[in-house]
Symmetry: C2
Subunit: 219 residues, 2 copies
């Protein structure tokens, strides 16, 4: 499996994009390289799966945004086949939050549409060798812990209440919190009661559970 222009056996590529013009453009770029060979094109996820099954390419360049079956789902289906190809996902925005889904589906890498032609050529070669190719934003997204998007939707907590909840989330008693924040115990009790009411918690233990689950406090 050569990764430099030594056409002992060219890397066979299938392009998947719902825009015929984009497909042809990409095909021209890749076919200009002697070690790359575009063997097929598909304009839809389902079409792509059938094509891959028949042609058995080494790499599939897959657009995420497609009608009917999208790129993520198509990636899953393609990789479910025996001896599956590598999938290089092509996306428009780096901030696209589909990166995690695509990687979980088994994609080998990402390529931004604003990439230059040589970058795309090299990306295909890279994933063909079994390496994974990401852009730095994707790596950062992966490093960032899974944020619960299910934030608390009820009444918002005041700064003081958040502060108290954070300490409750450390397992502190009201007296300890009072000492920590230099407050009267009664004040802390008021804040805690307020937090419980806003979170819909029965006691501080439930408040801690909710706080951890919704990401209101850091572990």
């Amino acid at each position: 499996m050569p990764d430099v222009p030594v056409p002992g056996r060219p890397v066979r590529v299938v392009l998947v994009d719902d825009e015929p013009l984009v497909r042809r453009g990409l095909a021209l770029i890749l076919d200009a390289e002697p070690d790359l060979e575009v063997v097929g094109e598909a304009g839809d996820g389902a079409e792509a799966v059938a094509l891959v099954r028949r042609l058995r390419p080494d790499v599939v360049c897959m657009d995420v945004r497609m009608p009917e079956v999208d790129g993520i789902r198509a990636t899953e289906l393609v990789l479910r086949q025996p001896a599956p190809p590598k999938v290089l996902v092509i996306t428009t925005f780096a901030s696209d939050d589909h990166v995690v889904d695509a990687l979980a589906a088994g994609a080998s890498g990402f390529l931004l549409k604003r990439a230059r032609a040589e970058e795309m050529v090299q990306a295909v070669r890279t994933v063909a060798t079994g390496q994974s190719l990401l852009f730095p934003e994707a790596v950062r997204a992966l490093l960032r812990p899974r944020r619960r998007t299910a934030r608390h939707d009820g009444p918002p907590l005041t700064p003081r209440e958040q502060q108290v909840l954070a300490l409750v989330g450390q397992g502190m008693t009201n007296a300890e919190i009072a000492a920590e924040l230099v407050l009267g115990v009664e004040t802390v009790r008021t804040h805690v009661a307020s937090v419980l009411a806003k979170l819909g918690a029965r006691d501080r233990t439930q408040a801690v559970v909710i706080a951890y689950r919704t990401g209101l406090v850091e572990p």
Copy 2:
């Protein structure tokens, strides 16, 4: 910044490895490419930082296992400089759990020592363009949810105690737990007391905190 052999301006590389022979070998591999140029070598993390500061290379190939300052720490220091180079970490085993640490430190990619020469050349070109290069195992490691390796080290919990702790972690009262497990409240109290003692918790709230932090219960 060409990523194909067009030496308009070669990619300047610094090699960091505590083994002089390995350094020279890698240098020969990279210098054979017209678009790559090894401008310096370091055998130690501290040395590497100084060298990078002086030479301002485009890419640093960094071994993880080094005496004194290891590759991870060295990566942090190197990237703290203004206009830092890309860092390609070289490691022996894919199962190495330093991948997350290295990426968090800002490394652009990984290369296995068992990679072939052409793969290394291409890896350097890839990270030079700003892309991130990983091996699939690393991606899987990133996708895997952060498991607290810091498990509880004290006395182990009995199955029943784990069960009770799980329900305590749902915010249930002793009476509710008793109803759920079809037990007497007193029995639940005994189990809870046992859990508190084993976890070193003062009350059920602290137990919940510890349970969440150590991964004893799932959110």
